[in-house]
Symmetry: C2
Subunit: 403 residues, 2 copies
Amino acid sequence: MFTKDGGPQPADFADVRATNLAVVLRHLRINAPCSRANIAAATGLNKATVSSLVTDLIGRRLVREVGMSEKSIGRPAMMLVLDGSPYAAIGLEVNADYLTAVALDLAGERLLSWRRSFAGASSAPGPAIASLAALAKRAIAKMVREERRVLGLTVAVPGLVDPDGVIELAPNLGWHQVDLRKSLLSALQEPAFPLLVENDANLAVLAEQRFGGQGSANLVYLAGGAGIGAGIIADGRLLQGNRNFAGEFGHLPIDPAGPLCGCGRHGCVESLAGLGALIRRALPEATVSPSEFGPQVDEIHRLAKAGDARVLDALAATGRHLGHGLSMLTNLINPEFVALGGYFTVLAPWLIPDASRELVTRSVAGAGGGTRIIASALDSSAAAAGGATHVLDAIDAGALPTP
Amino acid sequence: MFTKDGGPQPADFADVRATNLAVVLRHLRINAPCSRANIAAATGLNKATVSSLVTDLIGRRLVREVGMSEKSIGRPAMMLVLDGSPYAAIGLEVNADYLTAVALDLAGERLLSWRRSFAGASSAPGPAIASLAALAKRAIAKMVREERRVLGLTVAVPGLVDPDGVIELAPNLGWHQVDLRKSLLSALQEPAFPLLVENDANLAVLAEQRFGGQGSANLVYLAGGAGIGAGIIADGRLLQGNRNFAGEFGHLPIDPAGPLCGCGRHGCVESLAGLGALIRRALPEATVSPSEFGPQVDEIHRLAKAGDARVLDALAATGRHLGHGLSMLTNLINPEFVALGGYFTVLAPWLIPDASRELVTRSVAGAGGGTRIIASALDSSAAAAGGATHVLDAIDAGALPTP
């Protein structure tokens, strides 16, 4: 009703058909196996249209017939399922301490999920891009060996990514003005499929929306690591902003008297609620280094479960600062859920109570405007899975592979 | 590409026709007078389709023919313009110190613009709603006398408005849980047209987008008054959030050590950058009361132009706090423009320099993520004009009046 986007665009019958092909595909993803008649009944499309659309989808090898249903009454019907076996969507993530790769088929099933530790924080962009390209090549090669066509590859980066795929700034990788998309395109010899680069949290929230099971159109994913990025879905769509720089949650300036942040400012959310701040509170003897995050978070988790007072206090303090930052999201964006992702997920049971109290206290709308803080349903491959989800979303939006 | 909204919905030829009717209507609003051939050439719709659509629009009295063009070559063509003379869209605003009413025709021309001072801050909801209903009736009666059909009426309120039109909280009116929509529906004897209630800044930003001339899809309007509300348009659509509580800019908690806010919290943007804070800095002898805002802002404006040092310092300090708050918007939402509206508009030349410097300093993206702070192009009837614009937007989205 509020849609403006320069106003509605002229539509024609090709638009209608592309839209309806996507509708049938989405219905099958959720409800397969089902018959042409089931689809017609559920979507409101007439049976002749559904038959024509299904024939098209079978021709594209997106759908296949799996035999007749056993029905107690009436004629048995030919049942349909998603095929998509000849296709793959690939996502990669580069972060301060690891690289990940995920490939999904059209039904969202995992075809591969790789993770390797990686000294991203101490690598120059060149070697980092070479490692990323090598990982991409291995993932693509595996899909090709399985006789799958790669429909797209999207790379997740913890930083500001402009609409052309240039990394304007990735503080925890030490990157500034790195044209990652261009470098990868040449490293992969200009692949035939779309290759895109996006902010890690922006991609993770797409995976949270599709696989997290909350079914919300107003969702935020917080990528808890060296930094804290936010991926925001508002009214069903990713919030990107004018230059694709939305979601810089970690650097919201919440306390002018706060500690120095890695960005050179004082009192950013990250400096108070980031993993570094938590480790300094919980494990004062530890050195804060991205390469140590995994073991240190495991140790904090172990001590929290054991009821260690200092660690519980550290988690409570971190939760309060997180809740202060999240009250900005509630007041400005009013999401339904905020999913704590990355290294926050395993610590969520100890972060959420204080974060939620602080959120409610600092939100002008009653009961925190209804915003609930939850643990992400995803694991540490969230951003890479989001990269692959990004490819699937394009297909759901009607950009179907050609036969 | 990222569109999810529960996924694409089945489309049919009726959708296509409604979409294309709206396309022709919008083209005429911007380009009239023009011929059927002009429209076909500009929209890519074929001539037969355009002729059929135009016939429909003429039947709805949305378009009319104004005679043949004088053409140097070829046959002269019948020229078309928006008609819409039988229609009116009405917007009302209730605020702490005034009521306004605006009516627009379908071309966005003003049919009426009324403002009366009103002790909203000291009125109980009952009498306030009675005054509002009386104003609505006078506006409707005027449109009826002019033989115009009212297509809709939208009321702007400075507070949290839930999706049913219930005012959850309007601190500067002293309202809590007021079912304004229901009360107005009964006061107006259940009118035949849609009657809606929305947050004032959410409506003002629609008017800023349509009439402000920035043509941006990522825009924020700040309603500067007793409070500071934000209306946010992201990717061309109003950002409303899960419970329609988005845009509570004035109560972002930016300084834990800050002064007490009217909401009972400390360090809200409003307590540091609101009109009350500005008046206390600029006119320390003055009493802060919404009924005095008009004259006091005029006095501050006069003294600023005269170079009064204390007033200039007060405006600079207010601008810095405003910029601190706006850096939250830039980091989270990354808008292209922030338009200073309400009482801020006339003071914008003195607020913008310090606000912009602070915004850039506190934004993690370089150059403030490209966010520019500007004076609103609208006057104090912005929210009421936005209410009427809201009605026009529904028509542009394809909800055309029946013949």
